[in-house]
């Protein structure tokens, strides 16, 4: 299910970082990648230069053992990337995260965010953090809401090609209004986390449930930094409250804040039955 990836290439990515990303994709068991470059405006003069650059990247990616195809398209970047990914039957979309200032994002928008918002496929965002590179996948953190996203995310987490060693199951919850209810809530959350841990236990060397109170997007960032995880996995729910509809869901906010690679799996994404580890 993660064997085929649609990789968005803007041609502005630093080469070293892009290579690290390709190496990282190997951790998901990916074998085939489609490098997609979309430009809002494409002239005949630009075409050969873009083809040449893509070809070079394609060769580099091939060195990691991938079967690589390149595609150049013209149009709305986010829409075309999503369409191409579906057309090529990709298991997920991979993006190299490029940080932008708040002002630039507000004025010009953020293409990666748009792709994430529009996508019904899982989206992997490679973001090793400032001045860092990371190609291995040791520690994975799944931030679960213990609701509808578990059903979509768990098959990926226990997939045998997912090579993480240690899994943290994090639930960030809302404190109940009184101590007695809070105790019940915590017990229920821990029970659910332990159940999830049991379901994932066979696929990792160790699984650790963590229960925390606070705002989800803040605590996920904090815990990811504290535990120094290589990948944050989150589900993307379609049921958004009014505030999330305005400022974006937790899954949409996280890439801007974590400074870590993130795998975002929409509840809606179609999923073939995975082969377990």
């Amino acid at each position: 299910m993660l064997q085929r990836a649609a990789v968005k290439i803007s041609l502005k990515e630093p080469r070293k970082s892009l290579m690290d990303m390709f190496e990282f994709l190997g951790n998901f068991g990916t074998r085939e990648i489609h490098l997609i470059h979309v430009s809002p405006k494409l002239t005949a003069q630009q075409q050969p230069g873009i083809e040449e650059k893509l070809e070079k990247i394609s060769k580099d990616a091939g060195n990691f053992g991938f079967s690589v195809q390149t595609h150049i398209r013209c149009g709305h970047v986010a829409v075309i990337i999503n369409e191409m990914a579906e057309e090529k039957k990709a298991g997920y979309i991979a993006l190299h995260w490029m940080s932008k200032s708040l002002f630039r994002t507000a004025l010009f928008g953020h293409i990666e965010s748009d792709i994430l918002r529009l996508s019904n496929l899982p989206v992997f965002i490679y973001n090793p953090g400032l001045f860092k590179s990371k190609a291995s996948l040791e520690h994975v953190m799944y931030a679960t809401n213990l609701k509808d996203t578990d059903g979509a995310v768990l098959p990926y987490l226990v997939d045998r090609r997912f090579t993480g060693k240690r899994l943290y199951l994090l639930h960030v919850g809302e404190r109940a209004p009184d101590p007695a209810t809070e105790e019940i809530r915590r017990k229920r959350v821990l029970d659910n986390l332990n159940r999830l841990a049991r379901e994932c236990a066979h696929a990792y060397d160790s699984v650790q449930p963590i229960e925390i109170i606070g705002a989800a997007h803040k605590q996920i960032v904090k815990q990811a930094a504290m535990l120094d995880v290589d990948l944050v996995v989150v589900g993307k729910s379609e049921k958004l409250d009014a505030m999330s509809q305005m400022v974006g869901s937790t899954a949409e906010i996280l890439p801007h804040r974590t400074g870590r690679s993130i795998f975002i799996i929409p509840v809606l994404c179609g999923l073939s039955i995975p082969e377990n580890k």
């Binding site: 809302e174 404190r175 109940a176 209004p177 009184d178 101590p179 007695a180 209810t181 809070e182």
Partner: protein, 503 residues
Amino acid sequence: MKLKNNIVFVISLLAILIVILAGIFSSEALDRGSTWLHDEIISNFGWFYLIATFLFLVFSLYMALSRYGHIKLGMDHEKPRFSYFGWASMLFAAGMGIGLIFWGVAEPMSHYMSPPGYIEAGSPEAARFAMLHSFFHWGVHPWAVYIVMSLSIAYFSFRRGMPPLISSCFYPLIGNRIYGFPGYFIDILAVFATVFGIVTSLGLGAMQINSGLASILPFEAGLFSTLVIIGIITAIFMASSVAGLDRGMQIMSKSNIMLAVLLLLFLLLMGPTNMILNVFISTFSDYITALFNISLTTYPFIGLQWTQDWTLFYWAWWISWSPFVGLFIASISRGRTIREFISGALLIPTLLTFVWFSVFGGTALSLELGNGSGIAAAVVQDVSTGLFHLYSFYPFSEFLTLLTVLLLVIFFVTSADAATFVLSLMTSRGKEDPPTSKKIVWGLTVSVAAAILLFAGGLEGLQRMAIAAALPFSAIMLLMCFCLLRGLRYEFRYERNKARTDG
């Protein structure tokens, strides 16, 4: 007595004694310090009071009209402990009663004589302004302030099973830290505001009772007679407090409301009835039309000083009163739904207040505009005499004065009784039936402090300290709104929906 269980009691009692001692031995310094603090707060944070109070009103309306409206302040099967009449009487007695008697004539007349600069004093326009702003200051806003406080306390204590304390409302935000320093700090601040407020009210109110009695009885108003009045009131409210809410407080509140309504009807029927009804209808219409506008206006270009002296003073005063009134109202509202509670607390006392102002203020203005009765001039000289001056235009004026003094005494007793109950509750970790010993300690502290400060001076300084406490409290109350919303949202998301699917 374990110190840990009584930490709020010990710290607040000691701190209050220190401030009161400062008021006795250095009343000038207290006066200067409190004036500076009060002026700084009102001039720098006045806009904040306006916004906060308006938000409390919006929040109350939202709570009443939203899906949370049918949630009960108690368990689902619980029924209200007090009848509608008993509940509304106690609401009114604790929240407004005494102030209305004091200001019923004085406030419209004060605005009439000294409106903001853009209105000519003593003109019909000033009369209209005076009535509108009397409605405004005593209308839905103060009750919205009380509602926010009492609704939060009632929800977290009666529905969520926590002790009826202000700190309990912060559990969704700070969790178990409510049992530590942040919780103690909030409760101690509430005790401060309540004690300072009730001490000044008792002192100043005793002076008004004294001058009322002196106008009809053959004695001269002086310090000794004021002290005797404080002593008598203390004895009555301590007896009522020890008797408990069900008997003492409820019976006195009901009888007082009946007396107040009788007085109101007498003045309505014997006075310029048509004029009063016209004043009521017109001012009510002005109030509804201008509600949004005046709620958020400080008149920054002309009239800012007036707004600071009146509106902002009132808003700060209501907020500083809110821990006491809020806790008391919460304790008598168990078993009512949120919608029932808000609509009752917002509409019943407000409507009665509007009628009261129309009758007393409307009559005074009518007399003043008609033949220059001199009531306005009397109010300018001494605010507390306005009402007694008005009676001189009615038959049985001495009887009316006596009735008013009786009303004042009972309202004072009910307020002091409620305050003693609330102070004991807050300093007993929210025990529903606080120990009698604490009621006695607080009752005596309040009365002795009022008597001593009356003698030494410093009552007004203490009042300004109470108003200063309103600033942190308005921020605390905004957080309470947030916590209450979180609590209710949790209940709906995780408990109601689960119960529905389980069912």
